[in-house]
Amino acid sequence: MQANQVRQFVERYLATFSAHIVESHPDYLTVKLPVEVDKDIGNRPFYWSWVDKMNLAYQPLVLTFAFHPDRMPDGLRAEHLHLGAGRMQQIFASAKKHGQFVCMYEQNTASLPATGKRRSTPLVPWLGINLKVSFLCDKRRDLMLYLGVNLHQPRVVHDFSTYLFQLPLSPAIPDYFYTLDRKISVEDALQMARQEAEAVIAKEDQAWAAEAKARLAEELDILAAYYEELAKREPQAEQADADDEEAEKAEEPQAAQAIVPLPQTEAPPVAEPVVEATQTIDEYRSSGGRILDFLRANGIQVTPREEINQEEWKKSTPEEEKQRRMDELRWQYEPRIEVHFINGGLFYLHSNPPVQKLSGAKTVRHLPTNGRIM
């Protein structure tokens, strides 16, 4: 993303929340953050839990974003906003959070016959889903899939979102239009989309996966051969190693060997950690919790003094080591494909998206490069 694209993105994002722009200068932007934006990107979750609990009027955050590192405003505290900036990632996450599901209706266009009598025009229901397909091994590649499923006459089209962005859409149904029934359920539509996605995947170049698998097999072989040799040649060497370790231990400074003496009485009962399922630390903090409580509650125990034991040192056996290494290799190389849902929605259209043949879909579909969709 270039600097101007970053700026446009940010301006549009803020506009959707009706943010008050305090100052707009060619090189920077000063804005008063609206509540939702503040909660998403303001980095002050404790402040918000306080304000919400106490029902207070809040003090808005005013931030200045600059888009060119060498053209920072004088006298103002500004932050450089770019693709890699932490704040930018937060803005992205916020947009994604608030832009998940939509329901839109195509508006009246000039293409419809202007008749004296107003007739009702049918709108076809479509399920639009935007997916990101990731091809993963120790490397990664992404493919964007914008699918549309016609819920009235079931079929799947590609580049649905690209097509949508050319249409005049609105969240309200226009006058003199009516919607057609859904002939298939959302679940069925999902199935169709899924099959389409899998078909696309099947047509993609497989070389990467084959290569990764070959590489994995090769590495596993080398590893297996190595450990076999090791087993043959080193049963005595193991003993020698153990002796060396003894000698080395004796040399190490006493401090490293200090064993904290166990208490004479029985150790106090260590409470079982209550592992709470899915709350992240951010969620916890934004609900006003303290970090230590969170840690204890989530099983990140601080090891009590009595349990610290410097002596305990069990070296892995070659077998264990080999297994671990093999697991690591699989973790690294094993090819897999993940399909993630980005966002989606229901679309009622009277226009028809073009049906493309599947064959072409090898390259990544890009949105128009000027950075604006509309």
Partner: protein, 566 residues
């Protein structure tokens, strides 16, 4: 794609179905578009091209650094030894690789193990240069709680930290100064071997000059079995402890797992060094002191009551060349160790008297002159704390602002002093060991107030300013007191071996190959002490210089003269 598992995200079905039933709540269309654009911006288009630069607008890596990153990602699949020569920016290379994996979502949980003295610096560099949310490990919970943790091996391998480190699956493990792990019998090595990791980078200074099995051990941490079993490795590749056979094949194998960029590779431009020798004429009193001390030192060495060892004696002699303050401190300490009424004590007191009679300070005066002439930022290096303190005062008295820099300073103080030097003071007065990890490229003038006897340390001093990123030629002024051992070492050794003109890292090579490093100072001490005459000393030093010169790589010499011509 047959046999490649496909996982399909279905978490969105029920939220969507719910909204269909309730006809809402629906999100805004504009945000829907923005969300899609955001994903587009972050999508990884191709397997093999670097993305991280899009996220690092303020970083301008050098071509060799980018190439290294690409090789590690594409060819070495994320497991590699980075063994660039000193000054070529290994940390940047490691940061680029880390960032690339993070941007691709292939690495989240990362562990960086570095020497304790470098923990804070690594943390800061990762944060500031790469926008990576690294934290320096302090409390126990931090191992689990944070994604990118920087710590020292010594801490990590001990309980209660060990239990966490060995329990976590790290997407990436980075180890700095990995050459310290060359011995597989050490606890550190055993510990590192146990850590579970997907990608791994080992950063090291000079792996190949070391013993062959050291290299083998390092590679075993990374990709066990890649060079075969140790005995077959020995049979195939090792001639003697330091010699390799089947070099071609060995080199090929090693290149699969290790990257070593050299300065001489070309395309890497360093500015040049301009060295000047500044002789200091001592006043009569100063000379008397020097001669007195020299006599004392020789007597003690020869007749040897054994109270003072040769190292202490020669240190005294060198200190006299530095400043009377430094020698005073040593004499004082010696005085305390002698018994009342002894001849020794009397001799020492005599020398102290000579010190008292000196009113001038020729070297310091010359330094002030030089600094005023330079009229820019200067770093003054000295071996002795007493000299450092004295100089600060002396400079102050002559209206020159200066800040001290010592090894003993805590990290934050070092940063503060560097900051002051950059923004407020004209001069930085540094003793040894202040150097590790400090970046002073905004300065290009170095005064060696006195010379260390280990050429490696000379190299380190200069390396503080002469590194990749230094934009100007580096000017080096060597002060030496005329007619003293300081002059001898400078003229007969350092200048003979073109020490100051050597490229960074070249000396590393030579010293390792000739196995000089630990014994160089001892060698020099012996030569000085044992030589009956100056002539004998000159001869012996010359021989030493000869040996060093002979072992310099031939192809470097023409490159140097080219550089000198530019």
């Amino acid at each position: 794609m047959p046999n490649v598992p496909v996982s399909f995200d279905t978490s969105w079905i029920s939220p969507l179905t719910e909204r269909l039933h309730e006809d809402g709540p629906w999100d805004k269309w504009e945000l829907f578009k923005l969300a899609l654009e955001a994903e587009e911006a972050m999508a990884v288009r191709e397997f093999d091209s670097l993305q991280c630069l899009n996220y690092l607008p303020l970083l301008s890596p050098f071509p060799h650094q980018l190439q290294t990153a690409e090789r590690v990602l594409n060819d070495m699949r994320g497991r590699a030894i980075l063994a660039d020569e000193v000054g070529l920016g290994k940390t940047i290379e490691a940061g680029l690789i880390m960032k690339e994996y993070m941007v691709r979502g292939l690495a989240k949980k990362i562990l960086v193990l570095v020497p304790a003295s470098l923990v804070i610096q690594w943390t800061k560099e990762l944060q500031q240069k790469f926008g990576i949310p690294a934290v320096a490990q302090k409390k126990e919970y931090m191992w689990r709680q944070h994604e990118v943790v920087v710590a020292s091996i010594d801490t990590a391998k001990r309980d209660p930290h060990r239990r966490h480190v060995l329990d976590i699956d790290y997407d990436m493990l980075i180890i700095d100064e990995a050459h310290k792990l060359k011995n597989k019998r050490t606890r550190n090595y055993q510990f590192v071997k146990e850590i579970r990791k997907k990608y791994c980078l080992l950063l090291t200074a000079t792996p190949i000059q070391n013993e062959m099995d050291e290299l083998y051990n390092l590679i075993n941490l990374l990709k066990p079995g890649h060079l075969g079993h140790s005995t077959s490795f020995s049979t195939n590749y090792v001639e003697g402890k330091r010699q390799s056979k089947n070099s071609e094949k060995l080199r090929e194998e090693i290149e699969k797992v290790m990257i070593r960029n050299k300065r001489s590779d070309g395309g890497i431009q360093f500015t040049s060094r301009r060295v000047q020798s500044i002789p200091i004429e001592l006043t009569q009193e100063e000379m008397k002191l020097y001669e007195g001390v020299t006599r004392f030192v020789h007597d003690q060495y020869k007749t040897g009551t054994g109270l003072f060892n040769s190292l202490a004696l020669i240190t005294l002699q060198r200190e006299v060349c530095s400043s009377k303050e430094a020698s005073f401190m040593t004499l004082y300490n010696m005085h305390q160790r002698t018994s009342e009424e002894s001849l020794l004590r009397a001799q020492i007191l005599e020398l102290v008297e000579m010190i008292k009679r000196i009113e001038t300070h020729s070297k310091a005066a010359k330094t002030v002159e030089l600094i005023q002439q330079i009229n820019d930022k200067v770093i003054v290096f000295t071996e002795y704390r007493a000299t450092q303190n004295y100089l600060q005062k002396y400079l102050h008295d002559h209206g020159i602002t200066s800040v001290p820099f010592r090894g003993g300073f805590k990290r934050s103080k070092k940063d503060w002093m560097t900051d002051l030097f950059q923004n407020r003071a004209q001069v930085l007065i540094a003793t040894e060991a202040g150097g590790e990890g400090i970046n002073l490229q905004f300065c290009n003038q170095v005064i060696n107030y006195d010379m260390p006897w280990n050429p490696m340390r000379v190299e380190q001093r200069i390396g503080r300013v002469h590194r990749l990123g230094q934009k100007r030629d580096v000017h080096i002024y060597n002060l030496s007191t005329v007619g003293t051992i300081e002059e001898h070492i400078l003229k007969l050794l350092y200048e003979k071996i073109d020490l100051f003109e050597m490229v960074i890292g070249e000396l590393d090579d030579i010293v390792e190959r000739l196995n000089l490093s630990s014994s160089l100072e001892e060698n020099l001490t012996q030569i000085i002490m044992d030589s009956a005459s100056t002539r004998e000393m000159a001869l012996k030093l010359d021989n030493m210089g000869h040996a060093i010169r002979a072992s310099r790589q031939p192809h470097v010499a023409p490159a140097l003269s080219e550089a000198a011509e530019q």
